[in-house]
Amino acid sequence: MRNFIALYFRELENYFVTPIGYAILGSFWLANGFFFSFNTLFISAVDMVNAFHNMSILLLLMVPLMTMRSFPEEYKQGTYELLVSLGVRSWVMVMSKFCALLTLLFFMFLGSAVSVIVLVTFSEPDLGPIVGGYFGVTSLGAVFIAIGLLIAVFSSNQIVAAVVTWIALLALWFLDYSTALVNSKFLSEVIIHLSLSVAYLDLIRGVIDLSVMTYFFSLIGFCLLAASTVLELRK
């Protein structure tokens, strides 16, 4: 536990002693604010559905940039070798990075909560779907991060890690398109269920579907476990 805490804070510190963390937060808040203003001023929407949709797309673009440094940087600096020689377990390394990235995600969403304050001040929005929506996009972000970390453990090059993560996320996002090529109804249903672009439609409306959540948490668990296993196998 001591190692986990030390590495978790080291990861967080890494984001905030460099411009990386501020660049991620700043660009997310800026883009989010722009889309929210556009929706409220020009479309007169008094909910967060469009905002959550935009957040999901932004995460799709930004998470690969957040995860690409994680392991490639450790390999390049030789610090991975140090951590292993110090007896830090693979799962501790993976979980410390995952939790630090989740914390960064939390701050990204915290900044976006200004939109909620504006809504509450000037209208009477239904807060249930908003809370549900935040939970949904956080889960979606966690899935993206877990996938990004799994891909990052394979690569010693940050750019390669980011590009492969984008490809993997886009493939999962547009997975439902492939049903056009499948004859089996059962297989089509499975593919649709696995497609992130289908799963997120309910989430952004604040509807927490148990099957979607099970899928998301299974995917997170699988990716983190696989990442730890890959690290063990590097020995």
Partner: protein, 308 residues
């Protein structure tokens, strides 16, 4: 003479391959308490792989690795190894002190001793004045010193140093040599280098690795060695008395080579070499320290021819 000394780590029948290439072949090695063991060999001989296995960064394909009387492959064993890989493993965005503190935590140094232990290594490697500097802004020599500081931190029973002198200036070299010799009083040290003189000055024993096969070069077999020393000292008589007090009547020859520089030939045992080089470095300007009777470089050359 080392048979009664408890081994810190013992490797038996270690094999390691990457793909189809056998990097280490049935390797047996023992590192004992208070021993400085030098690891020599050409590039690609398997030195780094061997060190990585002992540091548990890599697992052997076959063979056993035993730490003292216990199996080395246990979690608790990590705290007894200080490791400096070939490239100093630094968190570039951290300050020197923050980095060393983090390593102290990961080495399970007790919370109330962290400040004291960190202070000790910062002072020992003359890093106090750069302790608040960001590591990425440091010169290569300072980066190497920070790497050494993290390796020496704590009470590791074994130090594994992969080319620890690279990137250091002559003054830092002398300091690090002293640190290694001082550390050898309470720890075992395994270090690799391409500089034969470093082996001669620091090691009780050295081994030569070629194509994954280990050959002992010096150690118990040559208990006595004729050492040729060049030293700058204002009072040679005082130095001679110190040498004689430390190792008996061992000065075979002494002559001035200009100014306050002298060439001495000393007949001492292999085990006395580290202590003697430390004594000379502490009491004068040690310019060279090498075996005169059996040139290590010549022996290495012959081993290179013979090795499979």
């Amino acid at each position: 003479m080392f048979d009664d000394v408890e081994p810190v780590v013992r490797l038996n029948g270690i094999w390691k391959s990457f793909g189809k290439k056998n990097v280490l072949k049935n390797l047996n090695l023992t590192v004992r308490e208070n021993e400085v063991l030098g690891l020599l060999g050409p590039n690609g001989a398997g030195k780094t792989t061997l060190m990585r296995i002992i540091a548990r960064y890599l697992l052997p394909d076959a063979g056993t690795l035993n730490f003292r009387k216990d199996q080395f492959l246990t979690e608790s064993s990590h705290n007894v190894v200080g490791y400096l890989p070939e490239k100093a493993p630094l968190f570039d965005t951290f300050t020197v002190e923050r980095y060393v503190r983090l390593v102290a935590v990961l080495k399970a140094v007790p919370q109330d001793l962290v400040t004291e232990k960190v202070g000790e290594v910062l002072n020992a490697f003359d890093l106090r004045h750069v302790s608040r500097n960001v590591i990425s802004k440091l010169s290569k020599g300072y980066r190497q010193r920070v790497g050494l500081a993290q390796a020496f931190l704590g009470d590791s029973a074994l130090l594994i140093l992969d080319e620890p002198m690279s990137g250091l200036d002559p003054f830092q070299l002398a300091d690090v040599r002293d640190m290694i010799l001082e550390a050898a009083n309470k720890r075992a040290i395994l270090f690799s280098t391409h500089v034969v003189q470093e082996i001669e000055m620091l090691c009780n024993r050295s081994v030569f690795l070629k194509d994954g096969v280990l050959l002992e070069v010096s150690g118990e077999a040559d208990d006595s060695a004729l050492i040729e020393v060049c030293v700058g000292v204002p009072d040679i008589d005082h130095l001679k008395s110190l040498i004689n007090a430390a190792s008996g009547e061992c000065i075979m020859e002494s002559k001035s080579i200009g100014g306050d520089k002298y060439k001495l030939r000393l007949q001492i045992s292999s085990a006395q070499k580290p202590e003697m080089s430390k004594l000379l470095a502490n009491n004068g300007k040690l310019m060279s320290f090498r075996e005169a009777n059996l040139d290590l470089e010549a022996r290495l050359t012959s081993l290179r021819e013979k090795a499979p």
